[in-house]
Amino acid sequence: MPVGLVVVSHSRALADAAVELARGMLPGREQVIEVAAGDVDGGLGTDATAIADAVTAADSGDGVVVLMDLGSAVLSAETALELLDDDVRERVVLSPAPLVEGLVGAAVTAAAGADRDRVAAEALRGLAPKQAHLGG
């Protein structure tokens, strides 16, 4: 089973749009990408219990890579790990990759059947093409 992905953002609209962009790279291919975004009222915020649920839904036994936007999304994702069972928790990587750019690389790599560490590594490389092109 492929590695699952979870997108954590303060903004549901942002997460959904990032997933749409990443899915554009996977015409006709399957990939689990769960979203946990927005606060309980649908405003800007994050909810660790929703993140824990998304990780559980994304996990098929081969692990999950979680991408977060910034700030409290990271704190909530860490808190979500605390809510999960030990065996699930140790299959989860919280990635410091750039949310949008990292998700695209991670999605393509996960859909191709790469393992969790390779998917996470690809997410971390997310800025590489842009940096190489702009020389930044």
Binding site: D47, L75, L83
Partner: protein, 212 residues
């Protein structure tokens, strides 16, 4: 005796103070953050009180655990996982303790909560966060109890230490959380989380008075 009922009273009093100070907390957050700390915490604590009301008789650890999971779910901002972790670790520290109603057990629980905030947020004291109020409060509580002071007095000292720590955040430059994006421009404002953490300690002093 710091039993489940006493802890519930603490949570309620914290919710009451947060609701009362909601606009002030948001005003502080509008200077160095995103102007939502009052709304975030009021939503979270209102939900926590509702969850405790809905819950049938539970032990001390369960009261704190319910508060934790509700905050984690409903606050939305950084203070959600941080206060959530505070209550979660505090609950863990009370769990299975022979006499959780002993003031020393309360002090250990609060210390575990503080350590949780540090582990979660990776802030140090002086970074202009809630830690700058919570940390000194914990220290004052421990010192007072170690010196044989009654719980009332120890909590009073803790509340004073929290308020002093909160006020001392004003000149600091934020190094954690949203406010850190402002760099030097974060100086000159009290940290909203330090202000709400002071309410948490004041609520303990009020709600647990006479329970030692």
């Amino acid at each position: 005796m710091v039993d489940a009922e006493a802890l519930t009273a603490w949570v309620r009093e914290f919710a009451r103070l947060v609701h009362e100070q909601r606009d002030e907390l948001t005003r502080l957050d509008s200077a160095i953050g995103d102007a939502d700390h009052g709304a975030n915490l009021d939503r979270g604590m209102t939900a926590a009180v509702a969850a405790l009301d809905a819950q049938s008789a539970a032990g001390p650890a369960a009261v704190l655990k319910t508060t934790a999971t509700t905050l984690i779910k409903t606050v939305g901002g950084a203070s959600g996982p941080l206060y959530g972790t505070f209550f979660l670790r505090a609950a863990g520290a009370l769990d299975g303790v022979p006499d959780p109603t002993d003031p020393a057990a309360l002090a250990r629980a609060v210390r575990a909560g503080l350590d949780g905030v540090v582990a979660r947020g990776k802030a140090e004291r002086g970074d202009k966060t809630m830690l700058d109020a919570l940390g000194p409060a914990c220290d004052a509580l421990d010192e007072a109890l170690a010196a044989g002071k009654p719980l009332d007095e120890a909590l009073g000292a803790a509340a004073q230490a929290a308020a002093d720590g909160r006020d001392a955040t004003e000149p600091l430059v934020a190094r954690k959380g949203r406010a850190s994006y402002l760099g030097e421009r974060s100086a000159g404002h009290v940290d909203p989380g330090a202000a709400s953490a002071t309410l948490l300690v004041q609520a303990a002093a009020t709600a647990l008075a006479g329970r030692g």
